[in-house]
């Protein structure tokens, strides 16, 4: 269980996160949603342990800053594309923590080949990462995270570079991890997709947590309207699945 208590982060005079208190349970998919600038990415980096903060973030009682005891995979929204690196090398980097840097075992290489197949990248393994399209790059990132066999995976907008078909494919791949007890925390612009996959949604607005609860409750809560400044409509399909659509009129 990850427990966040009075978390605040400042960059100079700007307060990015203000007094956040949430609990994130293991083996579940938790989604951070909110408009741009709400502080979702900063929150994710704090959960990774690479961002300093005031307050506390504990994972099973241990403070996470520079000290995560779990194998955490991180999928950034804007990755640095390494020059001259092949797809297989890139994905194999995910084994670094388990096998030691640059010492992939036979088992690891089998795993890399298998994950390349699952993510539809097999056959591209000798291409340079820099030659991949946006969607292929996103799948390479997911593949690297899967290869890492993490117990916690943090994803920053994992579907933003993808078309509809690949959004579902990637999210299904991530969902596979849940079956193995992996804790998933992602940010997502698309609340409809968030509601489809995540058990829990945390709505953030201007550095604060506005709402925090089970997905279906959050989706139908009036406060969701507040977070998006009344610019969304929530519909429910016959199947019971909620759909969130932006309003065209921006005047109110």
């Amino acid at each position: 269980m990850i427990k966040v208590t009075d978390l605040s982060i400042r960059f100079g005079s700007r307060e990015i996160l203000k007094d956040i208190n949430v609990e994130i349970s293991d083996g579940k998919w938790t989604c951070l949603v909110g408009p741009n600038g709400a502080g979702k990415t900063t929150f994710l980096r704090a959960l990774l342990g690479s961002q300093s903060y005031s307050g506390s973030i504990t994972d099973d009682g241990l403070e996470v800053f520079r000290n995560h005891h779990r194998n955490v995979a991180f999928v950034p929204q804007f990755p640095q594309i390494p020059i001259g690196m092949s797809v297989s090398e890139y994905v194999a980097l995910g084994r670094s923590k388990r096998d030691g840097w640059g010492n992939e075992s036979k088992h690891s290489r089998n795993l890399v080949a298998e994950i390349l197949q699952i993510t539809g990248l097999f056959g591209m393994q000798s291409q340079y990462v820099s030659q991949l399209s946006g969607g292929e790059m996103q799948r390479a990132l997911i593949a690297r995270a899967l290869v890492q066999e993490p117990t916690l995976i943090l994803l920053d907008e994992p579907t933003s570079a993808l078309d509809l078909h690949h959004q579902i494919a990637v999210l299904n791949n991530i969902e596979l991890l849940k079956e193995r007890g992996v804790t998933i925390i992602s940010t997502m612009h698309d609340i409809t997709l968030a509601a489809m996959y995540a058990e829990k949604i945390i709505v953030m607005y201007e550095g604060k947590v506005l709402l925090d609860g089970p997905s279906d409750q959050v989706i139908h809560s009036p406060q969701l309207q507040e977070a998006f400044e009344n610019r969304i409509n929530v519909f429910t399909l016959d199947s019971g699945r909620p759909v969130i659509v932006a309003k065209k009129d921006l005047k109110n």
């Binding site: 640095q80 020059i83 001259g84 840097w101 820099s130």
Partner: protein, 342 residues
């Protein structure tokens, strides 16, 4: 997710045969270099002499080998390995395929140090030239570090301050040269790079510093791949990117400063060799850092052989050879493989 029997495993990312092959290449090139010259020496006799067997070289030939050709070939190998490795490491650390070992002001600092040693009339400082240029190189890089201040937040700021410090040192150097026009020729020939000064003393202290630096760099080489990612990704894969950057830059600077003070400015090795090894192996460099060191060593030993023999008995500056041969060759590879942009 279970393994299916029919799925083939990925072949290993780095093939160690390549490293072994580059070792063999260096050995071959080195033997070639010490046997060729105005007085040719036989392969067989050289090997016998080196391994202490009977029937080796004697008299003048032996002196020629032990006191002239061997230290020179060793110095070329050390300098080549140092420059190629530092180049590759800087390219990774600064995420810039055009980074070269002289980037942080090391070259200009060494040049200023050398100029001070050469122009200081009265005192015989010429013998201290290597020490002056070594101190100049280290000082210039330290000043670059000090000025940039926010290396961690933005590696490019260190790069820019390196360029500024370099320009400043070059300006002072030019001023000193103008004031002492008799020093122009020795400074100029030092700038073009020379290995003629090679003796066992220089080889020994170069070897100590360069081998320490290379050992550190090869030890962390596999982790350097992590610096090609964002810091958050690197952190999640288990490395501390800031600490790794500092270690890598310090070791690469030590190697560069030693190389530059022992042999002057030898251009192009630090860019051409890493890209060549990348292009041929189709692998990102860091796992192959040892191979880059060995190929860099071979490249410079070969270049020095050319410098000694092409216009014999006159000698070409080795920097002329590395650029004259290296540049067109590099351009061909660049065109074929489009290395830099991908």
């Amino acid at each position: 997710m279970k393994l299916k029997g029919n799925e083939s495993a990925l072949s290993p990312i780095w093939n160690w045969k390549i490293t072994a092959l580059s070792f063999a290449l260096l050995f071959f090139v080195a033997i070639l270099a010490i046997s060729f010259g105005p007085v040719p020496l036989s392969f067989q006799k050289i090997l016998r002499t080196l391994f202490g067997l009977s029937g080796g070289l004697t008299g003048q030939e032996r002196t020629l080998l032990i006191d002239l050709r061997l230290p020179r070939a060793l110095l070329a190998a050390l300098v080549g390995a140092a420059l190629a490795t530092s180049g590759a490491v800087y390219q990774t650390v600064f995420r810039n395929p055009l980074a070269d070992p002289y980037l942080l002001g090391a070259a200009a600092g060494a040049g200023l140090g050398a100029t001070i040693a050469i122009t200081s009339a009265g005192a015989d400082l010429y013998n201290l030239l290597p020490i002056f240029s070594f101190i100049g190189a280290i000082l210039a890089v330290l000043v670059s570090f000090f000025i940039s201040g926010k290396f961690f937040a933005e590696p490019n700021s260190l790069l820019l301050s390196g360029i500024a410090v370099g320009s400043f040192a070059t300006a002072v150097q030019t001023y000193l040269q103008q004031r002492n026009s008799s020093s122009l020729r020795p400074v100029y020939s030092w700038i073009l790079g020379e290995l003629t000064v090679a003796n066992w003393q220089i080889v020994t202290w170069s070897a100590i510093y360069i081998l320490i630096a290379l050992t550190i760099l090869v030890t962390v080489s596999k982790q350097l791949d992590g610096l090609m990612l964002t810091d958050d990704e690197a952190y999640s894969l288990g490395i501390n990117p800031n600490r790794l950057r500092v270690i890598a830059v310090i070791a690469a600077t030590l190697a560069t400063a030693t190389a530059v003070s022992a042999s002057g400015l030898i251009g192009f090795v630090g860019i051409v060799v890493p890209h060549l090894v990348r292009g041929i192996t189709h692998r990102v460099t860091n796992r192959g850092l040892l191979t880059i060191a060995l190929v860099g060593a071979s490249f410079l030993v070969l270049a020095d052989l050319g410098a000694r023999t092409l216009l014999s008995p006159a000698e070409l500056p080795i920097g002329v050879i590395t650029a004259f041969v290296g540049a067109p060759f590099f351009l061909v590879v660049l065109r074929k493989k489009r290395l830099v942009t991908q």
